[in-house]
Symmetry: C2
Subunit: 137 residues, 2 copies
Amino acid sequence: MDNKRNFSAKREAIYRAISSADTHPSAEWIYEQLKQEIPDLSLGTVYRNLNIFKQNGKIKSLGVFNGHERFDFDTSPHSHFVCECCFSIIDVPGGINLFDKNTCLYVEKECGVKVDSYSVVFYGICRKCRRKQSALR
Amino acid sequence: MDNKRNFSAKREAIYRAISSADTHPSAEWIYEQLKQEIPDLSLGTVYRNLNIFKQNGKIKSLGVFNGHERFDFDTSPHSHFVCECCFSIIDVPGGINLFDKNTCLYVEKECGVKVDSYSVVFYGICRKCRRKQSALR
DNA sequence: ATGACTGCAAAGACTTTGCATCTTT
DNA sequence: AAAGATGCAAAGTCTTTGCAGTCAT
């Protein structure tokens, strides 16, 4: 992630866990994941390091879903889909959903603000949950 | 809000507080607001009624910002701007930021999901906070 | 009376934090 | 040795909930 090797083994493990996950994980998820490999890891450390990564810009918060803050190591602009049933989060491929600069300029003018970023989230039902729902009928 | 008049005075006051607010309020904000007018209101009641409104579709949750869930009585599709400094939320006027159905279809095909809705949030610094920042220099 | 609504306070869920200890340089 | 990172548990914050009491029909 960085060349300076200024980090601890646990910190690196936490970052590795996020960046290798395909789940846009929560703190709890990372903790559970690493517990097997690092039994003496504490949840507080996970939270602390996530906040450091966030400040560093190494990860991005996707917001709070179902009470859990979710993170993304991919900080490049892209949209997400959130399943309202199981709260899985998946990347929307391609930049098709991104606004151009004019849209932000429009918001700045209309609202009298300075726009730094934006987020686009689609909500619905994921494939897995749809299957479950159909199976129940 | 509804013709059936099946609601209590406090419930109506809570809905009135949201719908007359220009702040996309939190539960706490509504509680503080109404406390003057209704001294024996409890915060639990505010939470309970907000959840009922949410289920009824009478209000929409904008998500959690700075730890507080924020609500909007305007359930029509529109985007929002969130100030990263004071966490004020303002409506982006006009439908210019809304996607068309094809965008949702694209997401459905690419992700193999069913899209029900989406949200667009712009982040930045609001006018008031910018002024404060300039004044400090 | 019956069902709906509420106050109150306790409980829950997630996150942060203080402090002593342990690591790393 | 100094600075940084962590474990542990307590505290903090926001939200939900159980229960008994209240209100409306």
